[in-house]
């Protein structure tokens, strides 16, 4: 009896497996069909810029907006309380001009890494999405997630964007010669600064922090006085001080392989483990970590960058200029005696501006309303009314205009300034700046640094717009990323027992993982990129 039941059960299992296979085959047939369709439309785009063009000229002048369309857009972050009210106003304008409305879904910061690519793998229906070199552009575009924007397409449906965005910005977006996003247009500085407590600097007898040695003195002074200097070792500051920059698309967010950004003539990549400077840095960090310049728990501490600074655990914080200013301001408001100020430990170097592709907007490859989406984006990008709404909120409620190009904040709690993921269409030509009434020393320092930086923009390097495509070496890339985890972060923060031994281990692990293949592929791609540019 028992035996028989078992037999029946196994029969069922067999049936189940067969059914599963059949089901699989069935859907496979369907999917390949859809696939060939996608491929066909792909070749249409690729081969047929001319075709698209003729279609466009067919309806030239008056683009057809007779049918009402509801667009969907994905942004990064969280929905602010007044967000829907603001976008209601935006939709009023869009309805009138383009006969369309837009609804926004948010990917929160935490789920962005995991969910962004799932939106494309699940073939979800939406039209526009925020992207950027740090936000999956290099990963999703080569896999066919974004719609290719031909020049004709942009000129037809977003002529204003075409006239605003410079050629160099479009060039940066190109992957294998094709454009997949509309980049933002502004000079954003790439380099971070440090917000420090002025009262402690005075107490420790440190007048200024303008170079690496002064920064190290400050770190050591902090440790001597029993306060942490920052959350971890200043690795980026170190190589930027030497004139290096991260290479977009390289392992470890680009920091494993650097290029000499301050010297446009230098086209060699610097793999950090072949660089004496790196071992030098690691030894210095070991010394600092042992002295107590930061907590031995930094690798596990999930605190935000500003947390330690604001609650008095660290004497400084490192972030971009805008954030440092915001939090220095907050620190001063909460602790008037701190005298928090901004310093630039890399003042020796001319300043790099962010690639324009740092922020941008892309169109979903499976969107059914690509043309209308592009036209709507054109409004966001170049219509001052919509631009102000998206960046500042509702005039009279959240902000008020000061002159033509400035604003004053009325209430930041409901919407917030420039913080609703409106960065994808930032357009420096129509972006308002803040009007400050009662200026403090901090504001002067900020403006001073800003002036200094704007007058000291570094020459472009051909690799600024280069982005490494990891497709050909994806195995090695994944293996390198896996091997890095064990050694790199502890080294960067001086937490290892034996620096030389750890360096040796890291080096061997990366060689075995295939770093040389990556470097070779990278050099080939870079050479092709450079020859294409010239």
């Amino acid at each position: 009896m028992k035996r028989r039941m078992k037999k029946i059960a196994s029969l069922f299992l067999g049936a189940a497996i067969t059914a599963g296979l059949l089901l699989g085959c069935g859907s496979s047939g369907k999917d390949t069909q859809g696939d060939s369709k996608a491929e066909a439309s792909g070749s249409e785009q690729a081969g047929g810029a001319a075709e698209g063009d003729s279609a466009a000229t067919g309806e030239a002048g008056s683009l057809d907006t007779s049918e009402h369309v509801d667009l969907r857009m994905y942004l990064i972050g969280d929905r602010t309380p007044d967000f829907d009210e603001v976008y209601g106003k935006i939709n009023e304008i869009l309805e009138e001009k383009l006969n369309c409305s837009i609804s926004v879904d948010f990917l929160s910061w935490g789920e962005m890494d995991t969910k962004y690519s799932l939106l494309f793998s699940s073939q979800e229906q939406f039209d526009l999405i925020f992207t950027g070199s740090w936000a999956q552009y290099g990963q999703v575009a080569p896999k066919g997630g974004f719609y290719e924007l031909t020049e004709e397409f942009i000129q037809t449906y977003a002529p204003d964007i075409w006239s605003v965005v410079p050629e160099v910005a479009w060039d940066q977006t190109r992957i294998d010669g094709k454009i997949y996003m509309v980049p933002n247009y502004q000079n954003e500085f790439k380099q971070d600064v440090m917000a420090v407590r002025g009262d402690l600097m005075k107490e420790y007898g440190i007048e200024k922090i303008t170079n690496w040695d002064e920064l190290m003195d400050f770190y050591k002074a902090c440790a001597d006085h029993g306060i942490y200097a920052s959350q971890g070792g200043p690795w980026y500051q170190f190589f930027q001080y030497q004139g290096y920059s991260t290479t977009s698309g390289a392992p470890n967010s680009g920091a494993l392989i650097l290029y000499h950004a301050q010297d446009p003539a230098d086209l060699d990549f610097q793999y950090i483990l072949d660089w004496d400077g790196f071992s030098d840095y690691c030894h210095q960090m070991k010394e600092l970590a042992d002295a107590g310049c930061w907590s031995p728990d930094v690798l596990n501490d999930s605190a935000e960058r500003q947390d330690g600074f604001l609650n008095g655990r660290t004497a400084g914080m490192i972030w971009n200029m805008g954030s440092c200013r915001t939090f220095a301001k907050q620190a001063n408001a909460e602790n008037p005696d701190w005298d928090a100020t901004l310093v630039d430990p890399i003042s020796n170097q001319p300043k790099a501006v962010q690639p324009y592709i740092n922020n941008g907007v892309a169109i979903n490859a499976v969107s059914e309303h690509k043309e209308r989406a592009m036209m709507a984006l054109n409004e966001f990008y170049t219509n001052p009314e919509i631009f102000d709404l998206a960046m500042l909120g509702i005039e009279g409620k959240h902000w008020e205009a000061v002159g033509e190009d400035q604003y004053k904040v009325i209430d930041e709690s409901g919407y917030g300034v420039d913080s609703n993921c409106n960065w994808g269409w930032t357009n420096a030509n129509i972006k308002r700046t803040e009007f400050i009434e009662d200026r403090t020393a901090l504001d002067d320092t900020y403006d001073g640094l800003m002036d200094q930086w704007n007058n000291n923009v570094r020459e472009p390097h051909v690799y600024d717009g280069f982005s490494f495509n990891t497709d050909a070496v994806s195995t090695q890339f994944a293996a390198v990323e896996a091997a890095l985890g064990t050694y790199l972060d502890p080294l960067l923060n001086g937490l290892v027992d034996d620096v030389d031994q750890s360096l040796e281990n890291l080096k061997n692990a990366l060689e075995a993982a295939g770093i040389r293949d990556i470097l070779e592929e990278m050099n080939n791609q870079a050479a092709a990129y450079v020859s294409e540019k010239q």
Partner: protein
């Protein structure tokens, strides 16, 4: 002719057992839809995935997706860690769960038993993220509860987050602490099912409490233990990602003792979003798990056929 009578016999049995089969149907359908149908996605492990092609249309690339794991130089270490941790979890976990179940049944005060059972059950409902934060607040060297106690007693601080050797103990402790209440419920049920006359007989024969436990309770719940053991052996190559990721995080210093297959795969693939490689790792684990569970099941059935799963 034989086939015909076989078919006839089958139909006859189908009719005879129709009520049982109907009762079985929901479970079979559930398994088909949620376990067998998704299994066809295994093909992803052998494909170079792209969005346009999807699961079925992307090009094949053989065993290419598996390579990164072995190339990383960490494959042996993380596989070893995964298996050793799981063995520790299974053995110590089963032991504590059985022990707790036995103690709970031996406690006579009803109120006390209920309260202590609820208290032990509680950690099961706490998210691993919260457990991670709790661990950080206990072991942190700046504000950690443990280090506060140590320093107030005049001792030297211990930097737990730079001491890899402490972590196997910490991880095992938290895993058992979190699972003991939930796990003991099964054994409690099994113990409740034991015929009380056996205990009475044992008592009359002069058995004391410990003899009652070792000679009656444990042998009687042995089948339950073995079934549960087999079930957990089925996951022996799968690291508990929540546990390891939330407690260890990105701390490379601890990886030699704490890195498991799942956390390594996450680190390797989070920046490149390679679905094919993720699928490959999952398949690698599943195949090893299947092998292990088959072997262990064979061993169990050699010991006693009635205890085996299949």
């Amino acid at each position: 002719m034989r086939g015909k009578s076989g078919l006839k016999g089958f139909l006859k049995k189908l009719h005879k057992y129709r009520v049982y089969l109907l009762m079985l149907a929901p479970a079979v359908i559930y398994t088909l839809i949620f376990a067998y149908y998704p299994m066809t996605g295994i093909v992803m492990a052998f494909k170079k995935y792209n969005y346009a092609g999807g699961i079925w249309g992307s090009p094949w690339n053989g065993f290419e997706n598996f390579k990164f794991f072995f190339k990383s130089g960490q494959a042996g270490m993380v596989t070893r860690n995964t298996v050793l941790y799981n063995i520790a979890f299974i053995l110590l976990g089963t032991f504590t769960q059985v022990a707790v179940a036995v103690f709970l049944t031996e406690i006579h005060g009803k109120k006390f038993r209920k309260i202590s059972q609820s208290m032990m059950f509680l950690p099961y409902f706490i998210s691993w993220v919260i457990v991670g934060v709790m661990a950080f607040n206990i072991f942190s060297s700046d504000y950690g509860f443990l280090n506060r106690i140590i320093t107030s007693l005049g001792g030297e601080k211990i930097a737990f987050y730079t001491t890899p050797k402490a972590w196997p103990f910490i991880l095992i402790f938290f895993n058992i602490w979190k699972g003991v209440g939930y796990g003991s419920v099964m054994y409690l049920a099994a113990i409740m099912g034991i015929d009380t006359s056996i205990y009475e007989a044992a008592e009359i024969d002069g058995a004391n409490v410990f003899q009652r436990i070792t000679k009656v309770t444990v042998p009687m719940i042995m089948p339950t233990m073995i079934i549960l053991l087999l079930m957990s052996v089925g996951g022996i190559f799968k690291g508990n990602f929540d546990l390891f990721y939330n407690l260890v995080g990105n701390n490379g210093l601890l990886y030699n003792y704490t890195d498991v297959i799942d956390t390594l795969a996450m680190r390797a693939l989070i920046s490149s979003n390679d679905f094919g490689m993720s699928a490959a790792i999952g398949l690698f684990q599943s195949v090893l798990c299947l092998l292990t569970v088959t072997i262990v099941n064979k061993l169990v059935s050699m010991y006693d056929r009635e205890y085996a799963l299949f």
